[in-house]
Amino acid sequence: MTLVDPELAGRVLERALARGGDMAELYAESRRGFAISLDDGRVERPQGGRERGACVRVVQGDSTYYGHVDGLAEEDLLRVAGSVSEAVRGDATEPAALRAMEPHATHEIRTPPEDVEARRKAELLRACDERARAAGAEVTQARIGYGENRRQIEVYGSDGRAAADDRTRIRLSAQVVARRNGRVETGTDTRGGHAGWELLEERPEEVAEKAAQRALALLDAVDAPTGRLPVVVGNGFGGVLLHEAVGHGLEADAVQKDASVYAGRLGDQLAPEFVTAYDDGSRPNAWGSEGVDDEGTPTRRTTVIEEGRLSSYLYDLLRARKDGVESTGNGRRESFRQLPIPRMTNTFFAPGDATADELIGGVERGLYAVSFGGGQVEPATGDFVFGVSEGYLIENGKVTAPVRGATLVGNGLEALRAIDGIAGDLEIATGYCGKGGQTVPAGVGQPHVRIRELTVGGTA
């Protein structure tokens, strides 16, 4: 399928550069989505959408001029290109001839979600609701959400770039509330990927059950301990810590604005030698994966920390040009209504040799942080505060009582240095990452990781 004929794309780029510019780009997108949720036993808010639209941008020096339009009508594309060009003050530049589209790796979608009858999606929600309620009499509320979307994109650049991608994502989430004697606790879980309905064919109700079990466990939670303690961070969603406290600081826009504590540190030993971390947008069927990024650069695995050394930042085309390097395929945008900026795809620590039991077994008294709620990171210093939404005490090498109200206070650089064990059980969870007003799917993950010491702020 072609969204914009390459011949028309060529004319749009020519119009966009009518008054000069270093680079012009046309980004076209066709997106469709469907979502439905269940709240309080009732299936509600079924919603479908189909959009087409395009964005034209012209870059000149450090300035970016862009426009976007709903629909892909020829006159609208040419009009928006003309309007954007008016911001530039110079002589016309000639775009290079567009190359043929290059094939790239794609992610296999076995059963496109749009081919699955909508009724089955509603039934899935009900089955999840039932499973959550069956988990215990104290479960009082369940909220289950299902969403699917497909984005077909095309990118044409005045440097001759031509690329297309077809992305399907699917996600099931559960939020379960349990109540006992006025105490109210919430547990959540999700399953999602750059994948089709096949992802939800095997025991999807487990998502609801897990959320329910978490909520129920928290009913017995004791107040969190405080002080400097060893912390074992759980696999999967525990990777939020890496994403927030390290990953954002590696995005090249933050680095170039000197708003990152990781600026100027390439090659420095920031973590022990057994620590390696990747951003990998090519990981098959992972939530944050794509074929090419939103500038047409094929996604790939970028080693950001190699044996403890900081080895790469994450680039889009503009920031790569500024640093004289290649884009790492991290130029992403929420939709055709926004500009691409450097964003993580799937960011995770590489698996190590230990097991989770060994990591926990080595702790006399500490905290097992499975999942995080809200958090804040000051990118310029790396200081962070995270709320632990699911956490347990570790006593004498064993996970004991659940704790409530724990917070982790620390610094990204310090936390990296203090890693003293990594397990082999890598898992990638489905996160949504917000930056610059744009929300994109981002895989967060890691195996179990132990940090020698972090400040735990508690309720006690």
């Binding site: 959009e51 001029y65 709903d70 954007v84």
Partner: protein, 448 residues
């Protein structure tokens, strides 16, 4: 196809596909945004939006679909998708179209002079804001100066015969200036808004940003105290915007509002009067009808210190067995209507700022708060936010202060409002709010 036609045909198509009722919201808009940094245009954007959202009902089941294709076929497909979605939903006895359809008489939403401002001319205006912000001595940098405007048309039709449309325009600009050096870098914001660029005063906007930043240079952390606090219009508007979201019937019915069950109770100082008014000619959120075809109006929320009521759309109104207040709002054609504030207006009093400061005697003048939205518990109303501003000494503004935390709960704060200022102004962040400065009798201010 015109927007009116698209909306009407979508409704017809939904009904033909088996919907018992339907409404359709069609919209077309353009907007521009110019960001100036260091005296140069750093970015410029020109955005167009065009699409339709269809809400279909099958009895009391509701479904929604939206699309960008406004051709006959495209509109019919969106309508069919909404009808199919409705099939999936469970029955909800409160769902349905509103009974109270109509339009109110609101004029002046669109400026005839809007078209006199081509891009080149508004670029000049944005540059002028930036120059004015950088001009005063002591301003170290201007983070950015932004001009933005938009014009849009919407048409709404439903299967009960409602069909209406309107056009509106909007222009605003702001600048964010820095004064001081290093760890003492302080920021100040200047804003202005109107129906077209001609209603903005670039000089005033830039100067305000500079003056607000300069006033904070040399700020120190004060000692902790309990004292009277004057909130300036920006800060008052931020609090009022948050309070407005708590007055939506949806938040109340879901148990997520501290005002739930307190209708008729005293929740604020006697002088405080807050209303939601979707018909104010200057209000950025004004319109003749809401997101589901109900005439907009003025809904008093707090008067003489008493909580008079909440804001409703038709669904929450049905659930509460009362009438909608015309507060169904739509973010865009991509989202179904839900309860929202239109313009929140705090009635001005008769003390000018000097008068409020004089009444405060010894206290604090707060010009900036941080972390309001994450710092307030919506159910208990307790909050703790970072703040900066100036001391009030002997009834006058004194030395600048920073790194202050003000902690209280919203109702206690509202109840101790002693005076409202005479200089109310529109503040465009956190919704659309018009607020004067407020004097709060006593608050806990923690510093060193």
């Amino acid at each position: 196809m015109t927007l009116d036609d698209a909306a009407r045909r979508a409704v017809e198509a939904a009904v033909a596909a088996g919907a018992s009722d339907a409404d359709a919201w069609a919209e077309e808009s353009t907007s521009r945004r110019i960001r100036v940094y260091a005296g140069e245009v750093e970015s410029l954007s020109d955005a167009g939006s065009r699409g339709i959202g269809v809400r279909a009902f099958v009895g009391t089941r509701a479904g929604y679909a939206y699309g960008t294709d406004l051709s006959d076929d495209g509109v019919a497909e969106t309508a069919r998708a909404a009808r199919e979605a409705a099939e999936l939903a469970d029955e909800d006895e409160y769902e349905g179209l509103p009974e109270e359809l109509g339009t109110s008489d609101v004029s002046g939403l669109a400026s005839a002079s809007f078209a006199d401002w081509p891009t080149e001319r508004v670029v000049e205006l944005a540059l002028a804001v930036d120059r004015a912000a950088r001009a005063p001595e002591g301003v170290t940098q201007v983070e950015n100066s932004v001009y933005s405007d938009g014009r849009g048309s919407v048409a709404l039709a439903n299967s009960r015969g409602f069909a209406a449309s309107y056009e509106s325009t909007q222009a605003w600009a702001y600048s964010s200036a820095f004064a001081g050096e290093g760890a003492d870098l302080m920021t100040g914001l200047g804003v202005g808004m109107g129906r077209d660029a001609g209603e903005l005063d670039p000089e005033a906007i830039g100067t305000e940003a500079a003056e607000r930043a300069l006033a904070l240079v040399g700020a120190r952390q004060p000692e902790s105290r309990r004292c009277p606090v004057v909130l300036d219009s920006f800060v008052a508007a931020s609090f009022v915007g948050f309070i407005g979201s708590m007055l939506s019937a949806d938040a109340v019915q879901r148990g997520r509002s501290l005002f739930a069950g307190r209708e008729g109770e005293e929740v604020a100082g006697q002088v405080l009067r807050i209303a939601d008014d979707g018909t104010d000619p200057d209000g950025p959120a004004s319109a003749p009808f809401d997101g589901e075809g109900v005439p907009t109006g003025r809904t008093p929320l707090i008067e003489d210190g008493r909580l008079l009521g909440f804001l409703y759309d038709s669904r929450t109104a049905r659930r509460a067995a009362r009438s909608t207040t015309g507060n169904a709002s739509r973010g865009s054609y991509r989202t179904p209507p839900s309860v929202g504030t239109s313009n929140l207006i705090v009635e001005a009093g008769d003390h000018d700022l000097d008068g409020l400061v004089a009444e405060a005697g010894e206290g604090l003048y707060v010009t900036d708060v941080a972390g309001l939205h994450s710092g307030v518990n919506p159910v208990s109303g307790t909050f703790s936010v970072g703040a900066s501003g100036r001391l009030i000494e002997n009834g006058r503004l004194g030395a600048p202060v920073r790194e202050i935390t003000i902690a209280s709960d919203l109702v206690s704060m509202l109840k101790s409002v002693l005076f409202t200022g005479s200089e109310a102004r529109w503040v465009p962040f956190g919704g659309s709010v018009k607020a004067p400065p407020l004097l709060v009798g006593e608050m806990a201010v923690s510093g060193s």
